[in-house]
Symmetry: C2
Subunit: 191 residues, 2 copies
DNA sequence: ATGCAACTATACCGATCGGTCTGGTAAAGT
DNA sequence: ACTTTACCAGACCGATCGGTATAGTTGCAT
């Protein structure tokens, strides 16, 4: 039985966003030309510009799609009744799982800011993501979003992603996870 | 009195590397065209290709220059007789100072890996940098390079840079610095 | 003084970029 | 029946890309 929200034949817009996602992840944004996106989506070039004002608009839509996906994922898998340290561990396991399945290409928002440093709209979405990331990490650790602990968890999350992107990963992700859990435990017992 | 190693008139190669550095930092690598580099260096296009085989080779030379500069900087300012936590603090103060002076554009090696994901030579230089970074952080903290503490310090260093790049920086750098110093102190007193 | 190497200046190359335009097809709305 | 909407296919546009070629100049070494 199909979900009513999933059309059996994706629209041109959906196919464009889907192939843009794959290509931006695998090759980066700037090296991925319009023609390639269109061809891989099996869509006419005009359909791209009927749905998006420009390549930049497509990039922003792609980032918003990534943000939506991230929100849905963390809401779907996070168990509010679990131990704080387990909820923290889940976040880092996510990164490790993506690395193992070779579907990890770094943080899409960080990558986009680096690739398009002059695009204000990209910055806006990235800021929105980072605010929500901080809120989520604060929530699952039982800390205030403005707290020092929340800052430190954001730092460790960013760090794990950077390490996964840059290194051959000698347990850096689990190291970040362990330190994060230590911080949360210390904070929990202290309170 | 001039240093013997600094020519009064920089060669074409030196001028090219100097302007490549500025442009790659400010605009990123891919959006910076050859013509712009050449024009800003006040150099003929042929001089670029007399000194570098391709734009990619220029990028690699730029990264090697960045690595050299980083090595010289840390060797110049680090005081082996200082307290461990002070030596750690210096590393993070460096980032904060760069941010304040608006000469901070994120980690050149991370940025280059993101902008040119298919360039193996870029990866090589980036790996070299990361090995030296780990060795340096291990040394100034009195830890083994393969130790858990060294991993954690690398994580926090990366994190501080990412936070500085992505955020409006509400004390994230000093938060990373504080945590790093706490880890080193705990490790020192334990031993 | 002569020859070579390094340099400047600029025209030029094919390829590709983001983006537009034309033209045609198929389904849905009225 | 007619229009509108959404779509595909692909030619086409000017601009820019990385890179080469031509031609002339400067300065140093022998």
């Amino acid at each position: 039985m199909e979900s009513v929200t999933t059309a059996p034949t994706p629209s041109a817009k959906e196919r464009l966003l889907a192939s843009a996602r794959v290509l931006f992840h695998e090759r980066g944004i700037n090296p991925t030309g319009i023609d390639l996106i269109v061809r891989q989506a099996g869509v006419a070039k005009a359909s791209l510009y009927n749905n998006f004002a420009s390549k930049e608009a497509l990039v922003v839509a792609y980032l918003e799609q990534e943000l939506d996906g991230w929100v849905r994922k963390v809401h779907g898998q996070d168990d509010p009744l679990a131990q704080r340290s387990d909820r923290i561990a889940t976040v880092f396991e996510d990164i490790a799982r993506a690395v193992e399945s070779h579907t990890f290409f770094g943080c899409p928002f960080t990558n986009a800011v680096i690739e398009l440093p002059d695009c204000a709209a990209v910055r806006v979405v990235a800021d929105r993501y980072r605010t929500m990331l901080r809120a989520h990490l604060a929530e699952i650790s039982g800390a205030d979003a403005a707290s020092s602990l929340a800052s430190r968890l954001v730092l460790l999350y960013d760090a794990a992603i950077t390490a996964a992107k840059m290194g051959r990963d000698d347990g850096m992700i689990s190291e970040a996870s362990a330190l994060a859990q230590e911080l949360v435990s210390a904070h929990t017992t202290k309170a």
